[in-house]
Each structure stands twice: as C-alpha cells, then as structure tokens.
Symmetry: C2
Amino acid sequence: MIVGVDIGGANLKFAAVDPKSNNEACHSCFFPMWTDANRLADVLVAELSSFGKIDAFAITMTGEMADCFIDRHLGVQQIAEACRLAATKAGVDRFGFYRSDGRFTRLTESKKETDSVASANWHASATWLASKFSVDHGILVDIGSTTTDLIPINNREVSTPSKTDHDRLCEGALAYVGCGRTPVCSLVSSLLIDGKWCPVMNEVFATIDDALVVLEMTSPDAEDLQSADGQPRTVPFAANRIARMVGLDRSSVSVDVAKQLSEQIVDAAKARIKQSFHAVDQGGTIILGGHGDALFDPPSGRGIIRLTDRFSEPASRCLPALAVAHLFQNNRYALL
Amino acid sequence: MIVGVDIGGANLKFAAVDPKSNNEACHSCFFPMWTDANRLADVLVAELSSFGKIDAFAITMTGEMADCFIDRHLGVQQIAEACRLAATKAGVDRFGFYRSDGRFTRLTESKKETDSVASANWHASATWLASKFSVDHGILVDIGSTTTDLIPINNREVSTPSKTDHDRLCEGALAYVGCGRTPVCSLVSSLLIDGKWCPVMNEVFATIDDALVVLEMTSPDAEDLQSADGQPRTVPFAANRIARMVGLDRSSVSVDVAKQLSEQIVDAAKARIKQSFHAVDQGGTIILGGHGDALFDPPSGRGIIRLTDRFSEPASRCLPALAVAHLFQNNRYALL
C-alpha cells in the first residue's frame, strides 16, 4: 500500500493505492493550517494508522504558504518534520517529498531545497494525468476550493517554465480563484442591485461558495458550518451572507435578488479563470477537474477529458494525493 | 457627566463630557463584536464604572452589522439590550439611542424602529461638527480603520437623502475603505513587481495597515499583534505580510520592494475614497478627520478644517462618541 498526501493550507487530502489490486481509496479533511500547524504530526499519524500496512508515503504540500509560518522556507521545514515524525510513529520507512522537477526527495534535501518542494502539487497532478490519459498536448484546468491550476502539457510533460507560485501567478498558470474560500470582496468591487451599482463592503462576509449555494450550483449542507459567519451552508443563510456584502440582509433581500447578486459574483470568478486560461493555453486536449469545474466553460471544438467522468468525487478532490502515490510507485520509491 | 459610546463592529469608543467644566475624556478599545457580542454588557459596565457619576448615557452603533447577528434588526435589539443592562448595573437612569434623523430614542422604540438606530454614528458626527465649527456648506470626510464617511453638509445640517449604509454605499457617502482593516485583496487585483504584473492571492494575508506601516505613514507598534498573521505591526513583519500577497515572503522581498508594493495599495485606497468624494461633494468647507486622514488629499482652493488640529488624537478617534455625548447634552436628554 502506498499512501499519498497533499498537505494544503486548509485541507489534508489522502489517497491510498494498492499496487497489486490497483484499488484506490481517497478522502480529505478540513485542516486549518493557520491555527492547527502544531497538530499536523498527530493528525497525520491518526490518518496513516487508518490505512493498515503502508509500504511508502508520498508527500506534496502547499500548506507552507499559510501565514502561521513566517516564510515558506520555514513552512516547508516544519511540515516536512511533521511528516517525518508521523512516518516514524506509523512505522513507515520509505517516504519522499515531491519536487517541481518531477522527482522525489528525502527529508534532509527537502529541508534544504525548500523552493523545489514548496507548492509542487500541481506539477504532480499534471504529470500523472498527462501520462495516465496519454495527453501529448493540452492543458490541465483543476479548480479547487481556493485556487485554479492551469498547466500546459507538451510531449506528455508539464510545459511551463514556472516553478514557484509567484511565477505561476505572473504567468497565469495559477489563478487565485476557487469554488470555496474566495472572498466575494476580492472578486467584485460593486454589485448591481435594483438597477443601481452598490460598492461591496470590503469584509469577508461571504465567499464564492455562498453564491454557488444560492445558485444551486453546489449542494447545500445544513451540517456544514465552514462559512464566513459560521452559520449553515444552506440557501437562506448563504443568501443572507451575500446580502450583507451590500449592507443588507435577509429582511430586505429575497432569495431571488440574492440569485441575481450571486450570478454577478460567479461570472466574475469565471472571467478571472478564463483570463488565466487564455494566458497559458497552447491548444490541445483540455483535462478539466476539481470540484469547482463548473466555473470553467471550455471553448468549443476542443477535446475534453472531464475528471468527473473518470474519477469518483473523493478521488477527484484528492487528485494531487493520488498523483504522488502513483508517481512514487511508478518510480519504485526512488529518492534523490 | 455625560458618557457617549460608539459601539462598532471592531471597536468600542467612549467619550465622557463634563458640561460644567467642559472637560472631555476619550478612549477606545478593541472589541471584536463577531466573537465577543455576548460580553458586550459586561464590558460596557466595566467601562461606565470607570467614569464616576454619570448623568446620562448617549449611544450610537454600527456593530449591528457584524455577522454574528443574523440580521441588522436583531443586531440592534441585542446591542440595545446590552446597553440597557449596562446602564442599569452602572446606575444610569437616562440613556438614549441616536437616530439618523438627529434625535434620540428610548430602548423600546429603538428596538422597534431598528433601521433608524442602525449605523447612524456618521450622522451624529456630521451634525455636531457642522454646528461646532459653524459650517454652513461643506463636507465631512472621516476616515476610520474600516470605512470612510463622506457627509455633505448644507445649512449646518446633514445633506444626504441616504439613511442606511446600503443607501450611503450606493450614493458614495460611505466608502468601505479605511486605514486599518481593509484587506489588500479587496483593493488591488494585481501588483507591479520587478516590471511584471502579478495577480494578488485572494487571501487576507495583509491589510492596508501593513502598507501604511511599511511606508511609515503610521506608527509601528511591536506590542500590537492585531495583524493578519498575528505577528507584530512592525516594518519587517508588515513587509513580509505584503510580500505574501504575491506569493513571496521576506526571503525574496526587500523592504524597498515592499514599499513599492505598498505605494500601489495606498494609491488604490486613495483612489476609491476620492471617487466617493467626487460622487457626493457639493463644494464648501472640507472637515477632514479620522486616523486615516492621510488617505485623502483635499482639492486645492477649498477651506479645510483638520480635526487633528482641533482635537486630541483620542478625541479624533472617538468622534461619534463625543458627538452623541454633546448632542444629548445639547437637547437636554430629550427622548422620543
């Protein structure tokens, strides 16, 4: 059994791959790195223990950018150390960190060359998918809760000169827009309501998730309180959060009006993702995935591989974890 | 002694006015309504007790918009009830809530007509200042930590048809930009760095306060941890927070580069305030105040009253509290 993990800033994603049976099991859990970084090793141990006997542990991360770490270098070091501790406690000897050149590295190297280990999960996903689906030429569009990766592929390999998040932001290969956490006030500066433009309140009163809930583009969940005001992710509460953005609330904004506001918010998110797409697209097959895939309408006439058709919902959500598990297995756990 | 209070979403501001000696004492304290609403009455009691014998207690609020309240109506009711409790415990018989028509109202009325009591502090400030400085025709520009009030004055009275925050947002009389809490990602969508435009990360990694600290437009404070990452409000830490906005950190962004980024952020804030100013300005004297007054460059050729020249720093910061205390005293505690 190989376990892959994607240690993000807000979520931990796990994939367990059995190379004999080719069985896969994926799941994710909410893990707010910015408050819980010190609990990381313990949570990893508990998760690893749930998988039975583990032959190897493949790690990728983006959580080093959480602002509980004073800089990314120290973030990678602390996360890498938590992984080592967890692997030791869980009795896993072989573990490696994915690098943005497609190879895996040991603990000591990862703690030195932190730049190559930091935020490399997009590279793992694109590399593995290009190979798995034999995509010679194309682009991966992977829309998560916080960000969208737009990774050009050529000759079945990642085809961007960018290595870091900063480079990818500048290039367009990383759009800092997703389907979950993106604050409404970062997407729009005004909203049209009752025929008037109203500047939005620059507060995190609502996120794009609220707009998607109101528009029924995502499933509501009355048990889920991971919202801006800690109230349920249901249509009435989401509409109330959206209304707050223009200084109103449920007493004066109907769900219908909230829908009109939500459409403008979703359109703004789509426009930003589209802009990034056109900045990096080099033609070919579009691999479209992530649980925010509704935020991208592929141009017509292009071959499309929809990951929702190919993977279960948990696997799609844990794609980088699945990718590093397979890549580590494919290279026989070779470490730099 | 009359005590005025401005109950905001993030701060409580107090002003004590002695009508005999005309002595004034002002102070403010951080009070995050969104987490601490249930403590409001206790905090008010403690504060009121510190002022000695109180003849009257004048109240204005904006805190009802905090998203711990499901809507503004219930927010006003809960805050009003906390005020009643505090007044009773502190032995203060006469207390009133300021309304956006310039009058004070009792508890029962304020709990019914919540719209007129909600977010009326701007009206109190403008009304009192127009009278105090005999401004027949002009505009109050009051730049706080979260928002800027831009209130036209005519015939020594507030001259805007807007009553609510929503109306004022649409009109331009409320700009949701301040000198403290405004998230950088709500002000700019990209920053120019090393000759390249880099889209910012849509996270609250930094606020405009960080830009002002880096540019030395506000005083740093190593003891103050009210920042996005909970680290000190000093130039190095603020520069690190600004660097995070473009996916970098202190290891690759010098303070000089952080200054260039900060200038763009401050310019964006100034532009938004200027836009609102031009939307509502009707000429005449400009009354400029608030601890963010550096974010507005008044047009030349206009008479200017700078509140920093007229008030102490604490009084300037607690302006609405001072205003309601004086207005309540001036109308002999008359209640609707």
